[in-house]
């Protein structure tokens, strides 16, 4: 692998950082707009987008091996089971 210069590293990571701050602005700003149920949808979607940016670029998943990606998916998959099965109970009463 070709080694990157410090400048390139700052540039690549800086873009992700700028995107994170833009999303922070969106989520805090939109919280004050009366959108009803839309407020929760926006704030949670933005949180998911920020988490994805960090996981893909800061945590390197975008260029990780299949094994590492699989390990990173494990927690999320079991978390989905936890939420889906609990929702299946509470929302069907």
């Amino acid at each position: 692998m070709r080694e990157k210069s410090a400048r390139q590293i700052w540039k690549q990571m800086g873009i992700v950082w700028l995107a994170l701050f833009a999303l922070l602005g969106v989520t805090v700003g939109s919280a004050y707009l009366p959108l009803g149920a839309g407020n929760g949808v926006i704030s949670l979607s933005v949180a998911a987008a920020k988490a994805a940016l960090i996981a893909l670029f800061f945590m390197n998943l975008a260029r990780s091996s299949a094994l590492v990606r699989l390990a990173s998916a494990a927690g999320v998959i079991w978390l989905l089971f936890l939420f889906i099965m609990t929702a299946g109970d509470y929302l069907s009463r």
Partner: protein
């Protein structure tokens, strides 16, 4: 002894394989962390569903300024952490050291801001108990979640600060090599602690602001 032979440990035949193992191992640990915090988030979801009005009334009492400020601090610490891990990979010792130090320092800034916020919360009688400020049903449960979730997050962050700080000192004293996957492993943990906070922000600070 060269940098690579200092960094390489048994039983790995190469640094590339060792790096793969560290990433795999840390991610397996992070999966358990996701489920640990996931249980808390699940409880939040269930109780918010049961007491929607109490949760909105309670969430209005949190201080958005501190929540947003600390999110910015943590996201910036993630930037310096990511740069540190890549600088180590590229053999840039000075940049790695300074970015590790900045990461730890930003972590401390977060904890100081959190301390001021906790002080305000306590003064405003937002600790569940006999003097609790609000009367809506479920508001106390929200604040119990607030204290537990932010408290456990702060403990995680403190552990991260100790790890990052130790690595920075070891690098400075040259008791640890610049090569090897240790910085990447620490970075994965640091970033997850950042992600947990990013999820806490909308749950604790952004609910009920528009109404």
């Amino acid at each position: 002894m060269s940098e690579v032979s200092r960094a390489l440990h048994e039983p790995w035949p190469s640094l590339a394989r060792q790096k793969e193992a560290v990433s795999f191992g840390v991610w397996a640990f992070l999966a358990s962390e996701v489920l640990f915090f996931g249980g808390l988030f699940l409880a939040y979801t269930v109780y918010r569903n049961l007491y929607p009005h109490g949760f909105v009334a309670a969430a209005r009492e949190t201080e958005v300024f501190f929540g947003a400020f600390n999110t910015g601090v943590l996201m910036t610490s993630s930037l310096t952490m990511a740069v540190a891990a890549r600088a180590a990979e590229g053999g840039m010792r000075r940049l790695t050291f300074w970015c590790l130090s900045a990461t730890g320092a930003l972590g401390v800034v977060f904890l100081i801001a959190k301390g001021f916020e906790y002080h305000d919360d306590i003064v405003n009688r937002l600790v569940p108990g006999p003097n609790f400020k609000l009367h809506e049903q479920g508001a106390e449960i929200f604040w119990a979640f607030y204290w537990i979730a932010t408290g456990i997050h702060a403990i995680h962050l403190t552990v991260g600060i100790v790890i990052v700080g130790t690595f920075a000192v070891m690098l400075r004293r040259r008791t640890a090599p610049l090569a090897g996957p240790r910085y990447e492993g620490a970075a994965l943990y640091w970033h997850l602690v950042d992600i947990i906070w990013i999820i806490l922000l909308p749950l604790l600070y952004l609910v009920g602001r528009a109404t």
